[in-house]
Every structure is written in structure tokens, then in C-alpha cells.
């Protein structure tokens, strides 16, 4: 069965430091991969997505993610974290059949220290 694993439930980084949030997926074919962010009181906002092509994907707010098929990973990175990046981050994979259904990981809560 398809699944998404985000190994880190909570991560704390200092403002200005680099960030990497891990995501591993289980999927038989080439996956559609997504990263969403949820700030307090807000809905889920799409940061970036991967469907095919260049394995390094650029998103909004200075985020990027790299698809590594050999590792079944789609880690999210940002070179310099801002205090406003404190939020919960979700990795998701599009379900087989391209129905629009998404399978999410458990989420990673990011805390940013001043």
C-alpha cells in the first residue's frame, strides 16, 4: 500500500540556519509528490510539487525539494530559515490512478528560535 513517512515530528532550528525536512514514500510507479505548509489558523498551502523532469523542484517562499528515486525520498530544504517559517509541514503523494486523492505523512512541526 502507498504510504508517506515523515520521520521527524518536531524540528527546531535557529533563524538564519538551513533546514531540511525529510520525507520518504512508498509507491510502485513514478509518484506525484507534494509539500504543503499549514500555519496556525490557516489552510494547507502548496509549497511545491513534483510530477516529472528535473528532480530539483523550486517552490514558493524560498523552498526547494529534491526527488531521489533510489532513496524513495522527497526532502524539503531551505538555505536560511525565517521566523515566519514556523508552521507544520506535510509531505504527500498522489494516489495511484491520478484520481486527485492525496496520501499524507504525519507532518513535521517546525519551530524557529530567534
Amino acid at each position: 500500500a502507498q504510504s508517506v513517512t515523515q520521520p521527524d515530528i518536531h524540528i527546531t532550528v535557529s533563524e538564519g540556519a538551513s533546514l531540511e525536512l525529510r520525507c520518504n514514500y512508498s509507491y510502485g510507479a513514478t509518484p506525484y509528490l507534494f509539500w504543503y505548509v499549514q500555519s496556525p489558523g490557516q489552510g494547507l498551502q502548496l509549497l511545491l510539487k513534483y510530477f516529472s523532469g528535473d528532480t530539483l523542484v523550486q517552490g514558493i517562499k524560498g523552498f526547494e525539494a529534491e526527488f531521489k528515486r533510489s532513496q524513495s525520498s522527497f526532502n524539503l530544504r531551505k538555505p536560511s530559515v525565517h521566523w515566519s517559517d514556523a508552521a507544520e509541514y506535510f509531505c504527500a503523494v498522489g494516489a495511484q490512478g491520478n484520481t486527485g486523492k492525496l496520501i499524507f505523512g504525519q507532518g513535521t512541526t517546525l519551530q524557529v528560535k530567534p
Binding site: 506525484y32 489552510g43 506535510f90 491520478n98 486527485g100 486523492k101 492525496l102
Partner: protein, 115 residues
């Protein structure tokens, strides 16, 4: 354009009561999805409408949950009777026809607490 709107934003009800959640998708979006996040676990798919038809309801947990989409516009999700384990955040999302899952827009969610 207006985003996906969910009502209410919060609801606290007693076990055994009925609650109805509403989702207004972006105008013109044929696809409408319901998801739920329970107790800090992963967000899970509940069901998918295409216009007024249920395309996939494989994620509905049991027959206490009833989803409708009147005239292919707004959707309601009724829980009757509510149980303690139904507490969580219910998200709605919509997308244009033929673009799922690329054009998802999520609402802010309804936080349901059953006491």
C-alpha cells in the same frame, strides 16, 4: 477569487449529537475533496465529489458520516451521532475539472471536538 470556505471554523458538541460541516469550494471547481486529521495523526482522505456525484468514498470511516453536494456547488458532511473519536480537523479542498491533483486549494478546516 474567493478561496475554499469552511463553516464553522470550530465546533464543540456532546457525544451522540449531530454536527454538519459545510464546505464552499471555489466557484467552477468540479472536484471537491474531504479530508480529516485526527489527534495529530496524518491527514486522511474521506471522499471525492465530481460535481454532485461521489467519485470515491473509500475513506469514509462508517455510516455515521454522510456527505452530500447539492447541485454540484457546496458540500456538507454530517456526523450523526458523533463519537469521541470523531474529534479532529476536517479539511475540504477543491480543484478544476481535469486538473486533479494539480490544482488543489484547501480550506482552513473545521476543528471538531466531541466531548
Amino acid at each position: 477569487e474567493a478561496g475554499v470556505t469552511q463553516f464553522p471554523s470550530h465546533s464543540v458538541i456532546e457525544k451522540g449529537q449531530t454536527v454538519t460541516l459545510r464546505c464552499d469550494p471555489i466557484s467552477g471547481h468540479d472536484n471537491l475533496y474531504w479530508y480529516r486529521r485526527v489527534m495529530g495523526k496524518e491527514i486522511k482522505f474521506l471522499l471525492h465529489f465530481v460535481k454532485e456525484s461521489k467519485q470515491d468514498e473509500s475513506g469514509m470511516p462508517n455510516n455515521r458520516f454522510l456527505a452530500e453536494r447539492t447541485g454540484g456547488t457546496y458540500s456538507t458532511l454530517k456526523v450523526q451521532p458523533a463519537e469521541l473519536e470523531d474529534s479532529g480537523v476536517y479539511f475540504c479542498a477543491s480543484s478544476q475539472a481535469g486538473r486533479a491533483p494539480y490544482g488543489y486549494t484547501f480550506g482552513s478546516g473545521t476543528r471538531l471536538t466531541v466531548v
